[in-house]
Structures are given as C-alpha cells and as structure tokens.
Point group: C2
Chain length 352, copies 2
C-alpha cells in the first residue's frame, strides 16, 4: 500500500484510463484497475496489453479484474477485498455514432452501470469519485470559450452525450442526498496524443471515430485517406475547430482532482473543464501531423456530418485556479507522441 492510498480505476485498460494509471503509479498511488475489455485488447485471459505495458513503463504492479461495472456482486467483492480510498470512473461506451444506432446499449452500460457502481461504493463507504465527463454535456455552444456554468443537457444530439449529462445529474443528486460524498466531474475537450514513450496510446477497434487516430492511421498507411466533414463552417479555414488536449496533461488533471478532493474543506459536487483553451482546425491538425510525421496526409473534403458544431473550445481557467492544473503540451507534442505510438505499434496493441 502506497502513501497516497488506493484508487480503483474503472475502464482502467482504456485510452484515458491506462494513461491515468501511469501517472497514479508514478505519484505513489496504488491502483486497482477493472475493465470489461470490450474496447481493448487482451491476449486470452491475460491482463490487457495496455496495462502490461503500463507495468513495464512504471516497473510497478497493477491489480486487475476483468469485471463489468454492471456486475454488482463482482464489484462488491472487489470493494470488500481491498481498502479503496477513491474511484476514478472511466468505464463507458464512447462512440457517438454507435450510440445513435444502439442507444439502449449505451444507457445500460453508461447509466445503469454507473448507478450500480455508485450504489456499491455507497454500500461500502467509499464516497470519493472522479468522473470522466465530456464537453459534450454542453451541447451546441451558446457562447465561447465554454465555462463550467454553460448550460448542460440542452441540445445534446446523441445518446452518448446524454449519458454523460445524466451521470453528472445522478452524481449531483447523490451529493445532495449524502453530504459525505466528494465528486469531481472532469469535462474533457478532445483528448489526443500518447504517452511520450510510445508504449501506450489510443487503440480504437475498427474505423476510428476520432480525428487524430484516423489521421495517424492514414499516415502509417492503414487507411487510404481522411474524410474531412465540411469546409464551409464559419471558422478560419472552413473546417471544424476543436480544443485538443494531450492525454498526459489530461491524465494529470485526474491526479489534481484527487488532490483537490483530499483537501479538508472540499465537499459535494464540482466540475472542471480540461482543455487547453486553444482551438485548432482540422486542416491545422493535419498540417501539424504532417510536420511531425514527415508524411503527407491524403484527405478529401466531404459533406458536413450531422450534429457537428463549427467551433468548440474550453475556458480552462477554473481548473488552473482551483486544481492548479494546466495543459503544458501543445499541438506539436500531441502529434509527435501520437506518431511515435503509431510507428512503434502500427496495429495498436494487437501484435499480428
């Protein structure tokens, strides 16, 4: 048991989860990771490859359970077998387009699952949680940059976004019901990049849903070209503008949240944006990736995609002020580290 206590990380084998586990281990937290492995590669019944790599990177051991958060009995057994101080809750399905096609699967996994997790936490007296939320809770931006008091839940155009919003509402109600709870909901803008070692990174199964892994797979030759959805938005070059944030910066935000929650006067529900505050267009990201990789990125402009907004970026000043956190890595490092990961692992975690 390490000096900063034990953190249970749900979805610990995933992209944000695994990078956060690295930072936790490097900062003297013990980690118990759980994951149902639906979105990550594990060889047979072994520990998922991402977490094996984390163990190699850090020289430390992670307790891992192949468990679904909807499995109340299994969760309860884990809470009874370990002294858990806090939970970082990443486990969720996260593909926007898929969520439109199979909404019930999303509501079951993300809402029923989260609510089961919180019930088991409550029953076991563990009442500290950092929740992996998303800027998608803001829906279509009503003003920019978006601050934490931007309205949420209005014009959420897809079930994925609604699940993040609903879980935030559930957590708010949990804090009202029981003032012992401490909850920080971190609203991510667009996480990209990889650990600077290139040993772990984003490993989407099938066609990537997000821009950066798509660009990267075009650069490595796994995909022929990138489709850019619309170049007639009211932005600098007509393509959509987003607030990209390096995954390591994002991971460190979770540690800062844990530290914040450990302050004696912290209580109840609180939310922070995690973004850089800086917007880049699709074409700018392509250009930066070209530079970092030395590869030409083939792309084609196609029609706008329903539900996309022109511009989205964070006001990250609250996190700077209260969490003493801010992003330190810029777009060049985001591209450099993505490319390093992609080159070292052209097919992601799966070896063949």
């Amino acid at each position: 048991m390490k000096p900063n206590g034990t953190v249970l990380v749900t979805g610990g084998a995933g992209y944000v989860g695994s990078h956060t586990v690295v930072e936790l281990l490097n900062s003297n937290y013990s980690v118990i990771a759980i994951d149902n492995l639906v979105n990550c590669y594990a060889h047979k019944k072994e520990k998922p490859e991402s977490l094996k790599r984390v163990e190699q990177l850090t020289g430390q051991t992670i307790v891992f359970y192949d468990v679904d958060i909807r499995n109340r009995q299994a969760l309860d057994k884990i809470f009874k077998s370990h002294k858990i101080d806090s939970v970082i809750h990443f486990a969720a399905l996260k593909a926007v387009g898929e969520s439109v096609k199979t909404p019930l699967t999303y509501y079951q996994n993300n809402i029923a699952g989260s609510s089961t997790l919180f019930e088991v936490m409550q029953a076991n007296g563990v009442k500290n949680v950092v929740f992996s939320s998303s800027a998608t809770v803001y829906g279509t931006p009503q003003f920019l940059p978006m601050t934490e008091d931007h309205p949420t839940g209005q014009n959420c155009t897809n079930p994925y976004g609604k699940t993040k919003y609903f879980v935030e509402e559930i957590l708010k109600d949990v804090c009202i019901a029981d003032p012992d709870w401490k909850v920080i909901s971190l609203r991510y803008f667009n996480p990209v990049g990889a650990h600077e070692s290139g040993h772990i990174g984003e490993d989407p199964s099938g066609v990537p849903n997000n821009l950066m892994p798509y660009i990267s797979q075009v650069a490595i030759g796994r995909r022929e070209k990138l489709y850019v959805f619309g170049d007639d938005y009211p932005t600098k070059d007509g393509t959509g503008v987003r607030d990209y944030i390096h995954i390591t910066d994002l991971a460190i935000g979770h540690l800062k949240a844990l530290q914040k929650m450990s302050e004696p006067d912290f209580k109840g529900w609180k939310t922070y944006n995690l973004g850089t505050g800086q917007g880049y267009s699709v074409l700018e990201l392509i250009e930066a990736f070209s530079k970092a990789s030395g590869k030409k990125i083939n792309y084609a402009i196609v029609h706008r995609r329903e539900g996309d907004v022109a511009t989205s970026y964070a006001d990250p000043s609250l996190a700077r002020k209260e969490l003493h956190w801010q992003a330190t890595k810029g777009i060049d490092e985001m591209c450099r580290d993505t490319w390093k990961w992609q080159k070292q692992n052209p097919n992601g975690f799966k070896k063949e």
Copy 2:
C-alpha cells in the same frame, strides 16, 4: 385471447396500473400484469389485492407475475411465453421526497429498469409502448397552461422528476435508432380519485406523499390534520394550484393512446398531456372534499415546501384533438369516489 390483443402492464398492481387494467379488460384487451409489489399489498404469495379486486369488478382473469423490471431473465421469459402486442409501462418508484433522500435507488429502479424492459422488448420484437410520464418533466412552469412543447428537463428539482425526463429521452433515442418503435408518453398532471365502485383506489404505504389521500385519511380519522405548505403563493387564495384529474379519466387516456398507436400511419415518439386544464387550489380541494364526505378536514398552514411551484395546469387540447380524449369527471366526482374508496377501505387493501 381477446380481439384487441394482449397488453403487458408493468406496475399493474399500483394505483394508475390497476385502474388502467380495469379499463383494458372492459375494452376487450387481454392483460398480463407484472409488479414487484414494493408499493402494494399482497397476502403472502397470492395475487396482489388490487388485482384480485379488479378481477372481481370485471369478472375476468389477469395473468400476473411477481417480477421486477430489472430482472432481465424473468422479463424475457414472460415475453417468450406470451404473444404480447403492446406494453403500458407504469412500474416506477414515485415519491418525490424519498427520491431526494435515496436517488440511486430511483435511478436504478426507474432508469436502469426501464432500459432493461426496452431492451427485452426490442429483443422480442415488441415495439409499442405507452409510457407513464409526468408533468414534472416540465420543471418550473415557464408559461401556463403548459403545452407539450414546454421545455423539459430544466429545473427538475428532484430525482423522481429527472427519471421521468430521462426515460422520455431514452425513448426518443430508441425511436430514432429503430423506426419500427411506436411510443406515446403520457404526461400526467395530478391523478386523484378512485374507481366509482369504491373497490380499488390509491393505497399509499406510510404517510401519503400526495394531497388527496392525505385529506382522505384525515377525513376518515387515520390522521389528525393536514399540513398545507404555504398560503402566500400568488394564487387565488395563496395556496398552490394544481390540475387534478380523475384516475378513471386518466386510465382511459391509456386506451386512447393504444388506439392511436394502432393507426397505420402512427410512428415514432409522441407525447400528450393528461389533465383537465382546470386548476384548483389546496383550499378548494379541501372544501370540495368536505362537501363530498360531510366531514370537517382539520388543517394547519405551515411553511412552503422546497421545490413546490405556485401553479401548474395543463393545456390538454392536443390529447383532445389527436387522441379524442378528454377528462369527463370534475372535482366533485374526484372527491366523491376517493371518499367512497376510503370509507369502504379505511385501511386500504390491507384488511386488519
């Protein structure tokens, strides 16, 4: 099997459920009722008393299962054992104050439960559902009377209301994902009264959460006095104004919804208010009940209750136009039938 097909009624032993089952049976529907019996009285392992009374009233038989909607296997077995045409989904926890104290229980029962039900329906090809929603989804009224296009989900002050709102959102997404679904969400204003026979009625366990059963229990002598929460609202007499609707009118609204869904061109998601369009104050309801019962109702004015609004009433014209439904029973009949039920059953369904 009856000419209008078979309806599965979840929460069929409850207040709205049991009254709706009466109307279904009287209109040539076969009924399968399920209920987890947490909010209704059943003697040992027998059929719940409310449904026994419905069978006596109608001279017909109800297939009943003691099943919780969160139990996927049991639900699936029911769908595989019967040819079910439609579902009327009442099953939910419904006490506003309790929901503030135990939000996770509400989210589990109402959201996880509903989503499990819809998944089992989808898997079994049953895609018609009437959902028991509530005017509480409108939150604090932004205008009166409230039409169906009043914003929802904003300023829902309690988890109960949020669960109704969330389930509506889930159903909207289900309809987007699969155009074969037909969904009508009925937004109830304030259901009161009892079947005119006095054989079935509202039977709250413990202290009633709603005004009418409280008044009625004061009239019969089970409670000493009624507490009226605030007489300084901007209403005709300072007490809160609500749109009360007779339970039999409400029940018939569900049949009208089933009929609407069976029209060949009906598809997707649709919502209707069920109310009279007429608001009565607390003092007016007390007065009407006094008249109907011949009893003096002791009451005391106390402070406002957090989360209560001054005035709420429906614009029920959409249901009149499209469902060919309108409330036919006024406040005197609401009080008369409540009192008949209360007199015949001073302790509700429980005999001793």
